[in-house]
C-alpha cells in the first residue's frame, strides 16, 4: 500500500491508483471534465486532455493532472490552493472561449457539465477573445452533432470505439481545427453509426444530443382529427423519476401513465404488452429452430439471436452482413406494437390508419431511426410515427406544467396496456432471454414452471453464459450487453465455434436501462444497478409473470393472429435484415 497526504488528510491506496481516485477515497472530490468512468463496467476515459483536474504535488515543478497521475509514497498534494484554483479557472476560461454562449437555447442546458463547472468556479467573464472554431451541424435520424460545442474530451470516441467497437467516431485534424467526426468527415448517417446513443449519454456538453420529436407530438395531440396512442418501454418507468428529483431506482409507472393521460394521449398503452407478443413469436421461433436442430436438420441456424434492440440490428447489418439469417426475424416490441395498433386496434375502435398516430416513449435513440425504416411503414405511413426518449418525455411533462410528483397512480388502458412480468424485464440485460425461457420452457415441456426467476441469467457482467435445464434438455444461453461484447459472441458464431443455442444481445451497457435516451447518469454506475433492481421488483409485483398467460395476448391470437408464427403473424410481426455499406464505390457528390 502507498501512503500519501491529500489536503492534509492521510490516505492509503493500492500502487497504481491515480491521485483522483486516492482523493475520492480520502473524501476529497476533485473537479473533472474529460474524465469519465463507469467503474462497475471497466469503462474509463482519461485522456488527460482538459487539465481541469490539476493538483499541486509538493516538490513537483508543474501541476499534475490527477486523473492520470499515479500516486507515489509520501506524496503531499494540495487540491485547492491559489495556484491550483488559478490554473483551473484559466483552463476553464480558455475552454469556454471556444464554446458558443447560447446556453439559454441549448438542449443540454441544466444537464451540461461545462455549465456546471462554470457555475462552480464562479466564472463571470471570459477575457480571451479571438477566433472560435466553426463546423457544420450534422443531423441524423437519431443524433445531432453540434461540433461547435465539442470540448474534445473524447468520451464519445471512447464509447464508440472501445466499448461499442462501432468505430464511427474519431478525433480528426489537428490543433484548433480538430473535431470528433466520422471518417472523411462524412455525416453520421453515412457512417457505420448504429444510433445506440452511448456517445450522447456520455457527452458532457451539447455537442451530441438526440433529435427532439416532441413538437411533432404536440401537433398531433392538438389535431382533433387524430387519435393519438402512446406506448412506454419497460426501462422508462425505472428512470423517469430521476428527472423529477426522485432517487434512482424509484418506479414511477403509475405516475407516468397519469402524466401521459394529462398530456392528452387518447390511449395510454404499454410496450410491455408487445414485449409479451415478441416472446410469443421469438420463443416459438426458438423452439422451432431448436427442434429442427435436435431432429438433425442441417439447414437450421443456431444459435438464434434476439432482435429487439435496433442499435444491435444496425450493428450486425453493418458488421456481420454474412450472418443476417442468424437473428430472430421477430420485430422489436416497439414495431410489433405499431403494427398491431394500426391494424387490430385501429379496426376495433373504427379509426382509419391515417388518423391514428402511434407515439413511443423509449430509453433509446436508435428507436427513432428504427421507426423511420421503410419496411416498418405501409404506403408511407409508419407503424410508429414518433419516438421520444425518457429525457424528452420528462421535458414535455415539465413544459405542460404537470406536477409529476403529486400525480395519482394511473393504470394502462386495455387492451394494449396489459402485460406480464416477463414483458417488464425486457428493460434489463438478460431480461429478454429470461422472459423467453419462462414461455419456451412451458411450451416445450408442457410442464408448469415452478420458479420463474432465472437467477443465472441476471447480472451485470458484459458477457454471461448459463445452461438452463429444459426438463432434461440443456439449453445453452449466452448474453452480451454493450456492442463490443456482442462482437465477441458474433465472431464466435461466424467462426463456427459458438456453443450457444440462443444469445441475447442489447447494445447498451446494462441493457435498455442504460440506453442512450435515459436520464444522464454522469458516470454514476450504481444508478444502472438501481434501475435494474426496480425493473425486477415490478416483475415481482405482477400477478402474471409469463407472456403466454397474458389474457390480452391470448385474446389477440384468438381473435386476430391465430397461432404464433401464423401467416398473419409473420406478415405483421416479422421482418428481414439488410446488409449495409457493402458497395465498392466512393461517392464523391457535393
Amino acid at each position: 500500500m502507498i501512503r500519501l497526504t491529500i489536503d492534509k488528510k492521510t490516505v492509503e491506496v493500492e500502487p497504481g491508483t491515480t491521485i483522483l481516485k486516492a482523493a475520492h477515497k480520502a473524501g476529497v472530490e476533485i473537479p473533472t471534465l474529460c474524465h469519465f468512468e463507469l467503474c462497475d463496467m471497466g469503462i474509463e476515459n482519461k485522456p488527460g486532455g482538459c487539465r481541469i483536474c490539476v493538483v499541486e504535488v509538493e516538490g513537483r515543478r508543474n501541476l499534475a493532472p490527477s486523473c492520470m497521475t499515479e500516486v507515489q509514497e509520501g506524496m503531499v498534494i494540495n487540491t485547492h490552493n491559489i495556484r491550483v484554483l488559478n490554473a483551473r479557472t484559466t483552463v476553464l476560461k480558455l475552454i469556454i472561449s471556444d464554446h458558443p454562449f447560447d446556453c439559454l437555447v441549448c438542449a443540454k442546458s441544466g444537464d451540461c457539465e461545462l455549465q456546471d463547472l462554470a457555475r462552480q468556479f464562479g466564472i463571470r467573464t471570459v477575457p480571451y477573445g479571438g477566433e472560435q472554431s466553426h463546423y457544420r451541424k450534422d443531423t441524423s435520424p437519431s443524433i445531432i452533432r453540434d461540433v461547435d460545442k465539442c470540448i474534445m474530451c473524447r468520451r464519445c470516441e471512447m464509447m464508440c470505439n472501445e466499448v461499442q467497437t462501432v468505430g464511427a467516431l474519431s478525433a480528426v485534424n489537428r490543433g484548433f481545427m480538430s473535431v470528433v467526426a466520422p471518417a472523411f468527415e462524412m455525416n453520421l448517417e453515412d457512417s457505420p453509426c448504429t444510433y445506440c446513443g452511448q456517445c450522447v449519454s456520455v457527452c458532457p456538453t451539447g455537442a451530441l444530443t438526440e433529435v427532439d420529436h416532441t413538437n411533432e407530438i404536440i401537433r398531433a395531440l392538438s389535431d382533433p382529427k387524430k387519435t393519438v396512442v402512446v406506448q412506454t418501454a419497460p426501462a422508462v418507468r425505472a428512470a423517469l423519476g430521476e428527472e423529477f428529483g426522485l432517487e434512482p431506482g424509484t418506479l414511477v409507472t403509475g405516475r407516468m401513465v397519469s402524466a401521459l393521460r394529462e398530456l392528452g394521449f387518447d390511449h395510454v398503452f404499454d410496450t410491455d404488452f408487445s414485449a409479451d407478443l415478441t416472446i410469443m413469436e421469438e420463443g416459438t421461433e426458438l423452439l422451432q429452430r431448436l427442434r429442427g436442430h435436435l431432429a438433425g436438420d442441417p439447414n437450421v441456424r443456431l444459435p438464434i439471436l434476439t432482435s429487439c434492440c435496433p442499435g444491435w440490428v444496425n450493428f450486425f447489418e453493418h458488421n456481420f452482413p454474412d450472418l443476417l439469417d442468424v437473428p430472430s426475424t421477430a420485430k422489436s416490441p416497439q414495431q410489433m406494437f405499431g403494427a398491431i395498433a394500426k391494424s387490430w386496434f385501429a379496426d376495433r375502435i373504427g379509426v382509419e390508419r391515417k388518423d391514428l398516430v402511434v407515439v413511443s416513449i423509449m430509453p433509446c435513440l436508435a428507436k427513432k431511426y428504427e421507426c423511420q425504416r421503410d419496411e416498418f411503414s405501409v404506403d408511407g405511413n409508419p407503424d410508429v410515427d414518433f419516438s421520444i426518449s425518457t429525457r424528452e418525455l420528462a421535458a414535455f411533462i415539465k413544459q405542460a406544467n404537470i406536477d409529476f410528483l403529486n400525480l395519482p397512480e394511473g393504470d394502462f388502458d386495455d387492451p394494449l396496456g396489459e402485460s406480464s412480468g416477463a414483458g417488464v424485464i425486457f428493460g434489463n440485460t438478460g431480461g429478454v432471454i429470461e422472459a423467453a425461457c419462462r414461455t419456451a420452457y412451458e411450451l416445450h415441456t408442457g410442464k408448469r414452471l415452478e420458479k420463474v426467476e432465472f437467477e443465472a441469467l441476471r447480472g451485470m457482467e458484459g458477457i454471461r453464459s448459463a445452461t438452463v435445464d429444459f426438463d432434461g434438455l440443456p439449453l445453452r444461453i449466452g448474453i452480451a450487453h454493450g456492442l463490443g461484447n456482442a462482437r465477441k459472441l458474433l465472431d464466435e458464431v461466424r467462426e463456427g465455434r459458438s456453443q450457444y443455442h440462443a444469445i441475447e444481445i442489447m447494445a447498451c451497457p446494462g441493457g435498455c436501462i442504460g440506453g442512450g435516451g435515459q436520464p444522464y447518469h454522469h458516470g454514476r454506475s450504481e444508478i444502472l444497478g438501481r434501475r435494474a433492481a426496480a425493473i425486477y421488483s415490478e416483475d415481482e409485483r405482477k400477478s402474471i409473470r409469463k407472456s403466454h398467460e397474458n389474457p390480452s395476448i391470448i385474446r389477440l391470437y384468438r381473435e386476430f393472429l391465430g397461432e404464433p408464427g401464423s401467416h398473419k403473424a409473420h406478415s405483421l410481426l416479422h421482418t428481414e435484415y439488410f446488409p449495409k455499406n457493402n458497395e465498392v464505390t466512393i461517392n464523391m457528390q457535393s
Binding site: 470505439n161 474519431s170 478525433a171 467526426a181 472523411f184 455525416n187 455499406n581 465498392v584 461517392n587 464523391m588
Partner: protein, 183 residues
Amino acid sequence: MNQKINLAPEVLACMEHLNGSDGVEVVVNLPKEKVEQINAICNSFDNDPQELINVLHETQHLFGYLPAEVQDVIAHNLHVPVAHVYGVVTFYSYFTMIPKGEHPISVCTGTACYVRGAEKVLEEFKKELHIKVGETTPDGRFSINCLRCVGACGLAPVVLVGEKVYGRVSPDGVKSILAEYNK
C-alpha cells in the same frame, strides 16, 4: 474497399477542382492491382494496427497521396475503424489526401526565410497558380506546400521545386521560376 463513402463538404471542397466541376458525381474504383499493392504493404507489417503510421508512410510513398479508398483498404487490413485511419492521416501534415503536382513547390517558411519575405513569395505563387497551400492545380502540374527550414538559411528565402533549390527568391522572381516548367 467495401464501403460506400460520402465525403464531407470540407473534404470535397479541397478535392472538387480535381473532379472537373462542382456537383459531378465521380465514382472511383480502386483497381485490383492497387489493392494488392496495399495489401502487400500491410502484410509486410503483419497487419499490425500499431504499425498504422508506417503503413501510411509506405503507401503514400507508393501512391504519392492517400485517397479515401486507399485508407479504407488499409483500415480493413489492419482491423481498425476507417475513422481512426482518417484521424491519423489528417493529424500529420506529412500525409495528404490530395495528389501532389507534377512539380511540387515547397516554400520554406522557417524563421530565417520568413523574416526575409517568404510570406510574400508564397502569396505570389498562390496568386500565379490560383490555388491555396496544400492544393494542386486542376491540370495536376503544380502544387504548393510550406516547409520549415531546409538548412540553407544563408540563401533565404528558399523555394524548392521538386528537388531543385532556388535561393534568395523575391516575389518578382516567381514568374520566371514557373516559366522554367511551363516551356
